[in-house]
């Protein structure tokens, strides 16, 4: 898998999911239609979004996606075309949600993240496990190996579905 495109630079730590999509837009029963509310009400983030047309990769600082568990944050990012988020650290729940929807959460050391923040675009190759910036700078990237298991099974839910007999046997034991 390969992701290439413009970068949306969000040089802030602790961007919580309320900032990604405020709760006032969580009034849906299906994920569709959330993209238009990405960063709604947040002038700074909206301004940056407007300045990065066609962005495919969001780059942020520490603890991205903290706060509320809302998977809507991942859905809204994806519906606006984002395929990867690069940050020095993610909240656990956001990380799980991103993996479960195929939005690649890429953890890099903060100095590498800063280099990405300064770059106009990037190219991520999950086969060669590398992130390449336009000036040729290349960083090694790693995804959680257990997530590859899910992919081989057809996704997280399919992986769990196949485990039902094992869970039933475990319960009976």
């Amino acid at each position: 898998m390969r992701v290439a495109g413009p970068i949306l630079a969000l040089p802030f730590s602790d961007i919580d999911t309320d900032q990604i999509i405020p709760a006032s837009h969580l009034t849906v029963v299906e994920p569709a239609g959330l993209g238009r509310f990405l960063f709604d009400g947040h002038a700074e983030l909206l301004g940056r979004l407007a300045d990065a047309p066609g962005a495919r990769i969001a780059v942020a600082l520490h603890n991205f996606g903290c706060g509320s568990s809302r998977e809507h944050a991942v859905w809204a990012l994806q519906q606006r075309g984002f395929q990867a988020v690069v940050a020095p650290s993610f909240s656990r729940i956001f990380l799980e949600n991103a993996y479960n929807n195929g939005l690649a959460p890429v953890v890099l050391p903060v100095e590498h993240v800063r280099a990405c923040l300064d770059a106009p675009h990037a190219e991520l190759d999950f086969t060669t496990k590398s992130l390449r910036l336009p000036d040729g700078t290349t960083f090694a990237i790693e995804l959680d190996p257990v997530r590859e298991l899910f992919l081989e099974s057809g996704g997280y839910l399919r992986f769990l579905y196949d485990k039902i007999p094992a869970v039933r046997a475990w319960r009976a034991a």
């Binding site: 919580d16 309320d18 029963v29 509320s68 568990s69 656990r92 769990l160 485990k163 869970v167």
Partner: protein
């Protein structure tokens, strides 16, 4: 295995070890609310025919916007309702509901030693009951409903040892803000918090729920308090599994090895208030904004580095949320309100309809309303800016909730997190109190 209580419960639920420190955990219970559950129902019905692993292991609660505020939220509630009915899942609904993290313990629905997931980050609250309770997204919740299990990376265990005797003015909320501040907004990432120490005995189960509630604000996977006699009594009184409480209270943690230790002398912890845009950005009442505060936080909050919060004028007060809406919280706030009048719009929202009725039996609703505060039905309310009590840009609110991120209670709204006592004092003063003003209000409350 490192002999902690957390490890004992975790190990008792591992179905299968997976690569890179991940485990397939058996999940005993799923709590389902109307905001995050409907898309999970859709996933299970479309892709797997709708069958659930064990419908009797699910509790459904309409809680976030209940009753519905408009057609869209009505559809969410109705979606949960219809699905619950079809699958014979117990549903707590308008009139007999509450914030799920308040309702589930109060009805004896959570047992010590069990695993619980819910599509809500504050699920960690239930760790106060000795359960391993983990907040998750919609897909992980769907997985637990579909297959009775979930995959988590096993966290290390961080001990928060509480010792000393706290002052009367210091509440469980202040202890929560203290550990979040000490760890930082993401400093607990990769850890489960396990509270230990002699001071735990002085904390009621209600207060432990408050303490565990904010673990996620430090980025922790969850928090847990090993059950003791107080837990067992609390569970039994509510018709829950008292035997489980007794059994799990016998877990021997004397040889436990924790990956990290945070010691808190609760005697030295003062009432706290946040000044910034994440819950770790807190100071003591009477304190100042740090000189190295980030510029964007200061700009958002309309504050300056070094500025004192004492006397800062406010526009609204909210007392409620899954952090601070239980009977003990309402009693603490009422002490301050008794015989006084609020100077700013003040909303008091009980955490459940049961809490509401118990509070009314004690006459607390009269205290709040005599003071000029709004006494509402139970719901998540203003905490997440989704229904009533939303802030306008620039409005400043002292809130007993758990999040002060930009936009949390309304775009541009400024939130200062604090305890019920500090929030009530702010309401009657019309501004954030200093240490002396708070002490005076509390002393007069005792004399009254």
């Amino acid at each position: 295995m490192s002999g902690t209580y957390f490890d004992a419960v975790w190990d008792a639920h591992v179905v299968e070890r997976l690569p890179d420190g991940n485990d397939l955990l058996a999940i005993d219970q799923v709590v389902a609310h109307e905001i995050t559950t409907p898309p999970a129902i859709g996933q299970i019905e479309r892709e797997f025919g709708g069958a659930l692993f064990d419908a009797s292991a699910i509790v459904a609660v309409n809680d976030h916007v209940s009753p519905a505020k408009d057609a869209a939220t009505a559809l969410q509630a109705q979606s949960l309702r219809t699905w619950a009915k079809r699958n014979e899942i117990p549903l707590y609904d308008v009139g007999d509901n509450g914030i799920c993290h308040v309702l589930v313990p109060e009805r004896g629905l959570v047992s010590p030693g069990t695993t619980v997931v819910c599509g809500d980050s504050h699920t960690c609250t239930l760790g106060a009951m000795g359960a391993l309770a983990i907040g998750v997204g919609t897909t992980v919740q769907a997985g637990a409903m579909l297959a009775g299990c979930a995959v988590f990376k096993r966290p290390q265990v961080l001990e928060i040892r509480l010792h000393g005797r706290r002052a009367r003015r210091t509440s469980a909320k202040d202890l929560a803000l203290a550990y979040v501040r000490a760890l930082g907004a993401g400093g607990g990432a990769g850890f489960a918090l396990e509270f230990t120490g002699a001071a735990l005995a002085d904390l009621s189960v209600d207060e432990r729920l408050t303490l565990c509630n904010m673990a996620v604000e430090a980025g922790a996977t969850t928090a847990v308090v090993a059950p003791d006699a107080a837990t067992a009594a609390y569970v039994r009184e509510r018709g829950g599994d008292g035997d489980a409480a007794a059994r799990w209270s016998r877990v021997d943690t004397s040889g436990a090895r924790y990956a990290r230790l945070l010691e808190l002398d609760v005697a030295s912890i003062e009432p706290a208030i946040t000044w910034g845009t994440n819950p770790a950005q807190a100071t003591s009442i009477g304190g100042t904004v740090p000189s190295d505060a980030p510029a964007e936080a200061l700009a958002y909050m309309g504050l300056q580095a070094g500025q004192t919060l004492d006397g800062l004028e406010i526009d609204q007060v909210f007392i409620g949320s899954c952090t601070n809406s239980r009977l003990t919280d309402l009693r603490a706030a009422a002490e301050v309100f008794r015989g006084r009048r609020v100077r700013v719009p003040t909303i008091v929202t009980p955490g459940s309809q049961r809490v509401k009725r118990e509070a009314e039996r004690e006459g607390l609703h009269d205290v709040f309303q005599d003071a000029g505060a709004l006494w509402t039905h139970s719901s998540c309310g203003p905490c997440l800016g989704m229904s009533m009590g939303v802030l306008a840009p620039g409005m400043r609110c002292v809130s007993t909730s758990n999040r002060n991120f930009p936009g949390r209670m309304g775009a541009g709204g400024r939130v200062h997190l604090a305890s019920p006592v500090v929030a009530a004092a702010s309401a009657v003063l019309g501004h954030i109190p200093g240490a002396a003003a708070l002490e005076t209000l509390l002393e007069e409350a005792v004399c009254a």
